[in-house]
Structures are given as structure tokens and as C-alpha cells.
Symmetry: C2
Subunit: 595 residues, 2 copies
């Protein structure tokens, strides 16, 4: 049996567009002689549709789109092109089976379902049974679970259907199919969002599934960015030993083709394409996720261009480089907004960073605005220009300049804060957090440095190498002087991040433990982190929930990002301390760049 | 049997503070001779604790707080005061039963549970069985359901326990207790958030429960504000006919006492207190909800003072009046920030509105900032001062002034947008939406007018009356000239809301249908609304999800607010139209005051 996995980039709510993409992939699959074509979970409407499924009209329209696809498939099979495929491949396109995810409504209940379509007719429907309701998932908010296994006989093989989470619980899976007889191939259609190293978990889960049933597994994943989520594709096929035999592209559309043959010794998988390159490590994964997430957020929301403030620091340089990779450097407008607190080195590096990438640069000094603003605020007698409020004012003037330009020219503002800053609230609300998309908000500062080095390698620049050549080759994506600069917000004379924060390697370890793994202060101290820093950082993280609540979405790259993953109250008097619990001091709405 | 329902204002995460409040209420209840004292759902940790329950230390600390309460209760019973209560009331405080909600961890699973405490020991635990996972609720994210009914024999009565949602499904409830024998009293501990007219639903649900089992029902609800939610209290008791015999205060703490007597003809309830006043209609309910929600958000987050921009329009005047009622007028700093586009009438009304309430007023004209800002932005050749970007710039300068003052003096910024504006995005991101709490974000414009009139009645002002008297009585809370002003943003000459939006009565009907009831465009047109306006408004609502995502929390007063209630993707190509579905035009990041 020949199978095709149609890993495509769906857009939530774009029923017509998603169907169109599937038609094109279906035609290619049929020309390649596929007996079975599978598309991802909820491929008709995109994933996750969230509360759109509460709209009855949406669910109806999604059903109509499914039926339109089914009818088209039949028409195409009967067309000249369909007949040509049959003549070339010796297979009848009318006999090709299509499996596709959609929202099913039955007797007032909604299901996350897979339709099985043959000769233009929906011949069976499988309903997802395990509905994830933790992490970023809210499926029990919407869907009822299925209860019935679906197994299709096809080209001499017994093919079982599952949807995403269904295969992530071994024990349940075995009991669900107990008594269902032999399974030769398990088709799993998924919308499995990316996080760092998740691919290894997936290989394990899919491999376990193969071994339980001694069947091949065809795992078809979604690809593309959807708000905070990025789906990484990497659809794959294992043989009945659980070995990954072939894998589709990462972070790109792909049609994965293979032949499945059941024999005495098990079920074999024979790929029909040469292997494609895969990300070589987690830094490359993260880079590709950020590029795709940024591109899709911009383009799917109607923006060809982005703009951002470029400071001469590493965060904005890395953000600009990712945006340039996503949208082309000419579409990334860098704005440098110096004040009297910026060093000549920083100002020069801001220009160098933009120039190296080939991005347009606009310079708007903020002093002419800062000065009258400061004067006007003296109407409040307590106002002064020596504290946090004055520092935040500078950041906010920059945010307003970017938003004004955005409104005037229609480019999306990217914010440049990293996860270390976002965690402890080392940012100004409506200042550097102002914008539509926050590219590196889930990237810890230590990973930002690794990304910078990776991007320089990618650009062909070797550390300590010769620098610029006339043809631009060997030019650093991120100037070395930017990488080497001691982190500073430059909102007052001689300011440095480390005056307000622990060193970033310590800070990032605390964040990983406290935010991503829900460890307590005691756990962290026992793991060797300094008690004083642990308590200070946790207090900062807890107090800054209100800032994060108003920050733009950004690409999720970890198993716990700030977003749908982590739902904490703003009003919250709990703190975990090493000593006994105590009532937290009231926070003040400082929104400070340092706390 | 004498029962006491301890309706108290818990704070999420404030384990020690919540326990302290319960101790005080318990002592009062015991002095009043109570046999049974009940506190609300998750009273130990506050509701909803959200992802705090993922922290193992939090769950442990919550258990320790429960046990500390239990031990204290025993000690208090054995104390002089406990003995004095016994001597006065002829009841042994050691025999008083305490029912209190907490997070239970058992074999790695979490339960939303009620502990039954007698003589300092936890003698039984009931686990909530129906876990709501729609609307604002995510309980299946955290908790496993219970499976076992708990019935306690107490003072000759059979008392069953349930938690909140458990009694909202008649059929399930009857089957859950089938075979459990006679029930004389159903105790339901709840954390049931307010929305307009929900009290009638509650009366019905509680009454139905009473009739099913022919038992009295003691319904103990939480009170207080928690981020977007307000719990309205109104704990109540019904007799076995389902009649509401007594009801605790609305939007305030209360200890509701009654005697329960089972006889031949059913179970009777005899209140021990005179009836308390209840909100007379939905406007009064909304007013009280907004006041409590605002007070609790400010105080629980450590703010004694708030500040807001006051424009001379009705939204900011109403917001200021609510804040003044919540925190005292001296703690509500009004800032008027006129530009050349504001009429003399508006400027005068801004002052009058603040003066009438007795709030301090600060004046900071924006022209001295607007002018150099506009000059600087000419660095971008496409910049001009005649479009939306220039209008937004004015709103953002005002937002920055408020945030600068907030940072300097430590007052919380209140935003003043109403639900009609929030729905269609008639606001400037980081401009008038900048702030920590959005008092009327769930209040439609038509309701804002009703609130203004209600507050004037409350202040003793009769429409058409004599105006100011020397003692201030009869002074309008909201000046009549403010109420009568034609709505305008005053960001360009002669601007009026109705140039950009439908009339508010039409707009509000569309929002109620589309947002609150998930009706389609076709539904709305069939209900008599104009097709053109319906399509235009729906497009605006859909396109402005990104603005709402970054807006501050505010008081939820409807069954569907923008917040945890309504989870829609930002990236979303679906629109419901009267004609066949079409691909939406890309939105542009205009953040405009009019779209």
C-alpha cells in the first residue's frame, strides 16, 4: 500500500484556503500513486480553532468545506488527470482513501474527528478519544470524547485511525484496541506543537505504539505558526519494530510518500523519497521555529513588513535577524532612537546590526520629545527625572514612536524582550513591550547568545575570522561587538543589567526551575542555586504577572511558555520561600526596567 | 440544628489571611450557638487558584493551613470563650462541625474538596464531582472528579455535602444520591461568580435541589473580587419546598445564621437575623459589582490610590465615580489632558466631574508634547498629522502621562473604555487602553448611561432638580452636561463616535448577539438588525482580538466577558457573513480610535 502524508500549513478559520491546499497535495499524492492520503488533525479548520467552535455557523461551514473537498476529490479522480494517474501508476484514483481532520457536530455535541473519504463519500468517522486539557490545550472545553475504534481494510492491510493524544497513553491505547484484531498500520493525524527536543518524545511515543501492535505507524503532523504555537511538521513513518524509517521536513510543508508492506517478519516501510535534512541540534530547531512563527504571524495577519527598535544590544539584533530570515531584510525596518544615555559604541552598533542584515534604518533621537515631556510632568510636584519613572518614560517614548510609524505605514511592530526579562519584568509596560509580536519572549538570554553564534555560523562567519569581504560573504549576522557588549538598558548613566539582576546563567537556571518545572524555592536551593537570588528572582517573577498579561504573543519554544501554558492569577498573595510562607509585600505598579 | 454560613472575602494565595478570617467568623458562629459552620469552595486558598495548584509546595501549604485551622478550632472550643459559648447557648463548641473547601492531593491527584472537621479532626472529605470546564472555568485542567457522596449525621439530621457545580445538573444529582437514603439538609459550598441576573438562575437551581430531595439547602457562596471575577455572596437557605427563606448580603461579607428543623411536613428554616437589603435591579447589581471588583483589585494588589484620565465624557466620569465609591474620592486622582481638539465645554465638564465627586484634579495639556513628537516623526517621510496615526499619538501621550504619574506616585491607572468600544476596537492600544484595571470593560455603553442615572439617584440628585446646594446634597455624581454630551473622542475637529460607529443602541444589540450569545450574522439580521451594520460591526469585533489580548483585566458583569470567557485566536481568517463565507481582508495594525 502506498501512503502519502500531507503535512501542510493550515490557517485557523481559512476553510477555503485549507481545502485548496489539500486539493493540491491530494493531486500530487494521487499522481504519485497513493492509496491513502492523510492530512493533519482539524486540517479543515486549522488548529486550535478555540472558541470559534462555539459558533454554530463555523461548525456548519467547516462541514460544508469537508464535503466540498470530498466531492472535488471524486471529480478529480474522474478527470483526465485522474485517469492519467491511473494509467501511469496502474492505480485507480477513485480507490484512493482520504483521511482528514474536522470538527464534527452530532446531536448537539462536538467531536475532534477524522473523516474517512472514499470515492467522494464519507464512509466512516473516527472521534478523538483522549482530549488533552492541560498545557496549552483546552480540548475538554469543546469536545466530547469518542468511544469507538475505527479500522479500515485497505489494499489488504488493516489500518487503524487515531488522533494526536490518543497514542500518548500506552496503556489506554492497548486497551482501546483490545479485541479489535490485527492492525498493520496505525495512522495518527496530529497537531502537535513544537517545543525544544519534543521530537525525541514523539519518536518514543510513535515507536512504542508500533511495538504494542507490531504495526507500522504513519504520523502526520501539522506545520506552521498559529499565534503563540508553532507546529514543526516532521511527519514520520515507523516500521513495526518502531524504527523511524522516514521523516518529512521540519518547519515546512511536505508530502511524505512511502510503501507499506506486511510480511511474515512484520510490517515494512519503503520510503519513496531521499531523506531530507533535519535540524542538527536544539539551537537550529529554535532558530527555525522562530523564523516560521514570525513569518506566519506576520503574513497570516496581513503584514508584509515589520519594524522594531534596534538598540545596539543583542536582543534587538537577534530579533531583527530572525525577522530578516522570515520576511526578507528589506521588509524589516530598524529604528534607532538614541538618547543622551546611549554610548557612541551602542549607537554605532545599532547601525552596524541593521547594515549587516541589509535592513533599512531610521534614526529618531528621543531627546527632543523627552525634554518637553519631562517639563509637562512637573505639573505633579513629586515628578522627578532621576528615578524609575523617568527611565520608563524613555522606553515609552520609543514604544510610541514605533507604534506611530506602525499606524502610519502599516508595518507590524516586533518587540525584542527575551524570556529572562519577561520572567522578572525587566521591561517597561507600553515601552519596550509595546508591539504586535514578541519574537524571542520564550527564549532565555543564554539561548539568545547561542542563537547569535548560530546565525553567524549560518552566515558563514567564523569567530575570529576575517570580517567583512567586499561581496558581503563572511559578514556577521550579529556583529561580534554586539555579542560582546555587557548587557545594559542605557536608561541612566552607567546602567548595567547585572546591577539589578543576577548573572544570566544563574537567572536562567532559576527561571527554568521555577517557571518551566514548577519547582519551589527550596527545590532550587537544594539544587545548588544561591538562596538570596532564588528568593529575589521568584518574587520578581510573581509580581510581574500583570505585565505579562498585557504583553503581545510570541513564539513558544519551551514546554512551558508564558501564555496559555501558564495561567496564574494577577491577584495572588502566595509566594514560595525557603522559610515559612509569608504574606507578600504589596507590589507597586512600577513597570520598572529594573525592580 | 443551627447552621452558620461564613460568606467571607478570600484572597487567592493568602492562606494565612483566609484562615484568620475564618477563625473570626467561626468564633462568632460558635458564640451564636452554631452546630454547623460552612465556608465557601476552596476557602483555604481562594478561588480560582489557577496554575498555583501545579506547585506542589502550594498544595502542601494549603493542607497545612487547613490543619492549622482545624487545630485552632479545637483549641478555641476548649478555651474560656468556647466554654462561655457553651454556657450561654447550652451547646458544646467541641461538637460544632466545620465544612471548608481546600485543594486535596491524594496519590498524586488533585481534588476540589470539602473537609468535614469535628473536634479538631478531619473526619471526612467530599470531592467535587462535576468539574466545570467552560466559560471562565478550567477545573478539568487541574482536578480529578470525586465519585462518593458524603452524608453526615448531625443533631438528628442527615446532611449531604456538594460543591458548586454539583447541584447544577438535576438529573446527575438525583442519580448520584440515589440509594443514599433520606437527606434533610444539602450543604453546597460554592465560588459562583457574578453576572447580571445570575441570582435568579441560582434560586432556581437551589430550589430544584430542595425539591428533588425534599430537603433544606444551605448554599454558601464566596464574596469578593479576584482579577476579572466578582463573587457576589448572597449565600442563602431554602426550605424543603425550595423557597428562599433567608439570604446573606450581596457583595459584602456576612455570617448567615438559621435553625433547621425537620418535621412531618418537611424541613423548615428559621432565620435568626432580620432580612438584609438586596440589589433592587440589574443596574444596582452592576454598580455594586463594579465597586467591589475595583476596590478588591486595587487593595489586594497593594494600591490605596488610583488615577485616571478624565475627559469630560461619560465613560471616564462613571469610572471615576465607581472608583470614588470603592476607595474614597480623595484616593481617585483625576487627570485632565486637553488638546486643541477639546471643546471648552468638555474641558469644563472634566473639572466639574472631578469636583462633584470630590476627587483631586491635575491638568496637563498635551500640546507641548504633541508638537515636538509630531516634528520628530517627520523623520519618516510618510508621517503626517491628518490621519489615524496622529489621532492615536494623542491618546498615547495621555496614556504615557498617566503611566509616568503612576510610576512616580504609586497609584494604579484605571482605564475607562466600555464594552461597546472594547468590542469594536474603538480605542488606541497603549493609549486609552493603558492601565492596570479596566473598570467598565464589560459594561455596554447603553448600560453606562443607566449607571450614570442610577448614581445620580443614589447621590440624591433628581433629574431637573435644583442643582448644587451649599451642603453638597443633591449634587450630581455625574454632571448632567456630561450625560447629555454627544459621544466624541475629540482627536480631530468635529469628531463624533457616530461618524465611525452605528448608534449605540444598535451597536450594543449586535454585540450582545454576536459576542455574548455566539449568534451568526444571519441570526442577527433575522432578528431585525440592519445587515450592513451587522457585517461592519462583526468585522470590527473579529479584527480587534489583538487589542483585547493586550488590555488590562476588568470586572466581569455579563455571562460572557472578554477574558477567560471568550478564547479566540488572533490569527483567524474566519468571518461569518450573511452571504457565503469569504476570506477576510488582512487587517492592518491601525489601533485606530475609529476603524
Amino acid at each position: 500500500m502506498r501512503i502519502a502524508l500531507g503535512q501542510f500549513n493550515a490557517t485557523v478559520g481559512d476553510l477555503a484556503g485549507n481545502v485548496e491546499k489539500m486539493k493540491q497535495m491530494w493531486a500530487r499524492a494521487v499522481e504519485a500513486g497513493a492509496d491513502l492520503v492523510a492530512f493533519p488533525e482539524l486540517a479543515i479548520c486549522g488548529y486550535p480553532p478555540e472558541d470559534l467552535v462555539y459558533k454554530k455557523q463555523f461548525v456548519k461551514d467547516n462541514r460544508a468545506a469537508l464535503e466540498e473537498l470530498a466531492a472535488w476529490v471524486e471529480g478529480a479522480a474522474r478527470s483526465d488527470r485522474g485517469r492519467a494517474a491511473r494509467d501511469t501508476q496502474g492505480r485507480d484514483a477513485l480507490a484512493t482513501t482520504l483521511v482528514v481532520g474536522f470538527v464534527e457536530c452530532s446531536e448537539g455535541n462536538l467531536y475532534n474527528s477524522a473523516a474517512v473519504i472514499q470515492a467522494g463519500r464519507i464512509v466512516d468517522i473516527y472521534r478523538k478519544t483522549l482530549l488533552p486539557n492541560t498545557s496549552v490545550f483546552d480540548e475538554q472545553r469543546y469536545f466530547k470524547p469518542g468511544a469507538r475504534p475505527v479500522i479500515i481494510d485497505m489494499a489488504g492491510l488493516r489500518v487503524a485511525l487515531t488522533i494526536c493524544q490518543d497514542i500518548w497513553d500506552d496503556q489506554w491505547l492497548a486497551s482501546f484496541f483490545a479485541g479489535a484484531g490485527r492492525i498493520d498500520l496505525m495512522v495518527n493525524i496530529s497537531a502537535s506543537p513544537f517545543h525544544v527536543n519534543k521530537i525525541y518524545q514523539r519518536h518514543e511515543v510513535v515507536g512504542d505504539c508500533a511495538q504494542i501492535f507490531r504495526c507500522a505507524v504513519a504520523y502526520c503532523n501539522l506545520v506552521g505558526g498559529q499565534d503563540e504555537l508553532v507546529f514543526d511538521g516532521r511527519s514520520l513513518l515507523t516500521d513495526s519494530m518502531g524504527r523511524v524509517v522516514t521523516q518529512a521536513k521540519a518547519f515546512d510543508e511536505d508530502l511524505l510518500l512511502a510503501d507499506i508492506e506486511a510480511g511474515e517478519a512484520g510490517v515494512h516501510v519503503r520510503p519513496l523519497q531521499p531523506p531530507v535534512g533535519q535540524p542538527k541540534d536544539e539551537v537550529e530547531e529554535v532558530y527555525q521555529a522562530l523564523v516560521l512563527g514570525t513569518r506566519d504571524y506576520a503574513l497570516k495577519n496581513g503584514f508584509q513588513q515589520v519594524l522594531l527598535g534596534i538598540s545596539g544590544g543583542i536582543d534587538s539584533a537577534v530579533t531583527a535577524a530572525i525577522a530578516a530570515a522570515a520576511l526578507g531584510p528589506q521588509n524589516v525596518i530598524c529604528v534607532t532612537m538614541p538618547s543622551r544615555f546611549n554610548s557612541p559604541g551602542t549607537i554605532a552598533d545599532a547601525k552596524l546590526a541593521a547594515d549587516n542584515l541589509g535592513c533599512p534604518l531610521l534614526t529618531i533621537p528621543i531627546e527632543p520629545i523627552l525634554k518637553p515631556f519631562n517639563e509637562s510632568l512637573k505639573a505633579e510636584p513629586r515628578w522627578n527625572d532621576r528615578g524609575l519613572a523617568y527611565e520608563n518614560l524613555q522606553a515609552r517614548i520609543r514604544g510610541m514612536i514605533l507604534m506611530s510609524l506602525s499606524n502610519q505605514i502599516g508595518a507590524l511592530v516586533l518587540t525584542t524582550g527575551n524570556k529572562s526579562e519577561v520572567s522578572v519584568g525587566y521591561s517597561t509596560l507600553y515601552g519596550d513591550t509595546a508591539g504586535g509580536f514578541s519574537v524571542i519572549k520564550d527564549v532565555l538570554k543564554t539561548m539568545v547568545y547561542r542563537l547569535a553564534e548560530y546565525m553567524n555560523e549560518l552566515a558563514g562567519h567564523r569567530p575570529g575570522g576575517a570580517g567583512l569581504r567586499p561581496d558581503g560573504a563572511g559578514r556577521e549576522a550579529i556583529p561580534v561587538s554586539v555579542i560582546q557588549r555587557v548587557p545594559t538598558a542605557e536608561l541612566r548613566p552607567n546602567q548595567r543589567d547585572r546591577d539589578s539582576l543576577p548573572e544570566y546563567d544563574v537567572l536562567d537556571r532559576i527561571i527554568m526551575g521555577y517557571v518551566e518545572q514548577d519547582q519551589s524555592a527550596r527545590d532550587l536551593v537544594e539544587s545548588g542555586l544561591p538562596a538570596g537570588e532564588v528568593e529575589r528572582v521568584i518574587r520578581m517573577i510573581d509580581r510581574n504577572e500583570y505585565k505579562r498579561r498585557q504583553s503581545p504573543p510570541g513564539v513558544r519554544i519551551t514546554a512551558k511558555a508564558f501564555g496559555k501554558d501558564r495561567r496564574l492569577p494577577i491577584t495572588n498573595h502566595y509566594t514560595t520561600t525557603i522559610r515559612k510562607p509569608e504574606i507578600r509585600n504589596p507590589k507597586s505598579e512600577t513597570n520598572s526596567k529594573h525592580e
